[in-house]
Amino acid sequence: MAAFLLGRLASRLVLAVLAASLAYALAAAALDPRAGFEGRAPRPPEAVVDARLTALNLNDRTPLADRYLVWAEGVVHGDFGHTSDGEAVNAELWRRLGVSFRLLFLGAVLGSVLGVLLGAYAAVRRGRTADRLISLGSYLLLAVPVFVLAVLLQIAASRANRAMGVQAFVWVGEATPGASDGVIGGLADRARHLLLPTVTIALTQLGLYCRYQRAMMLDVLHADFVRTARAKGLRRRSALLRHGLRVALTPVTTYFVYAFGLLLLGGIHTEKIFGWHGAGEWLVDSVARGDVNVVAAIVCVAVCGVVLAGLISDVLQGVLDPRVRAAE
């Protein structure tokens, strides 16, 4: 198991380094930070713009390879350089990643766990009413993009607010600005703001996992090892839970990486619609501003996230599937 994981870790690290370099090259080649400086009024002299861009390692007249080397040296030392306003990328990056994490984490966990359970349940009840309802629901959920689902939830919440005559639901930003009712009140306020985005994220992830888990579970329902487990005297429920679900989960773990990518993507829209100032919003704004270092930093973090998700799926696979451990 350890050797298997080390091998995977090494090859994934190489991939991550290459992907990060490619990300920087793409960002540096595609974005145009010079336009932001030249667009200022009064227009600064060219020599000043050049000097400023060079100081920030953003000058498109420096060869790409040289800019890359400067950037890579910084990243190796844990420094993602400066934004086009001259601020350090690092501090803002960690703050924004924190915001995104608080936004996405709960919804992702809830959605994936509930999705797996519902999918497995639907498979076991195949063809019955419960299965039909769950399948129909997951089809609908998969067809509704995040940016439609979020708006629908907001409309429903505002209707509910009006019907009840109190602001039960709030959804703009991470917390009410200026409100200070101590620690407890602050936490409650944050929880209220988290409710709608969490439901949004959870529902989208739920649809994905539910569909996939149902298909995988159907494949193992009639497998020999489930029958053997029944034959040796296990009840249907425990045979399915201990042998069926476990085996059916294995392919879902490889799917985890894909779902994680979709989560990052859904995060950009969710942040924008619910007014959270997270990394996704920063990415879109920075692309518009031509802020190469910020874009490269965020894509780097996303690459690391995907690689990490891959590693987690390797570990889960090793834990769940004895054949992987034996195959070394």
Partner: protein, 271 residues
Amino acid sequence: MTRSRRAVAGLVLLALVFALVFAGPVVSPWSWDGTDFAAFRAGPSAEHWLGTTESGRDVFAVTLRGARTSLLIGLAVAVISTGIAAAVGTVAGYAGGRLDRTLMWGVDLLIVLPPFLVVVLLAPRLDGGAPLLVPLLAAFMWMITARMVRALSASLRDREYVLAARFLGVGAPRVIVRHVLPQLASLLVVDASLNVSVAIVAESGLSYLGLGVRPPDVSLGTLIADGHGAAAASPWPFGFAAGLLVLIVLAVSLLGDGLRDVLDPTSGGAR
């Protein structure tokens, strides 16, 4: 086809959407880019069937135009990305050896680099709008299919009929086209149809952020973005666009899954 009610349902829904999108503009009294300066954000009326937008465009006409753009982009992206996947996958699987390893390594690299982020990054450069958006989206959607195609092609390589063709002196490209690809047809058809919905969602997601289709062109994504601020007060601009988008995605995925049930007896989603 009768074996899959799902595929039939998807096909019927899709046919209805197509009919609406291509016949609607003919019967509508308004063109999609016309502005009615007498009616801004009006409700449905005899003149404007579904009301007007904030800028005085006819909701019915402009939304159908947006749906047309999204549909065409989705179809084109799906065909191209499945085509790339078929080409790379069969070549890697059939050739094996170093070429296989190199190609699959490239695929791994592109999987690690989050596709949507890269598209976001490159999108502002594409001021041309829709025509350039298609290859960009396609370039980042083919990798997972290519892996599946490669695995299947590698298993086909040692089949008797493929070996027979090879020993008769048939060149590799011809063997791939005549003997390997036909075996993968059902997988590719299913994949392409599912990719249509992925591509449409990706396109509208980008356009929603202002990075895909740009004004004066419209797509479902730009319409949803424009309409959502006022969605509570005037629901039609947002509702019609969002409803069409959901309907299209639903129809295409029903069709894709249904086709998989029909064409691929081993798949699990079917039974």
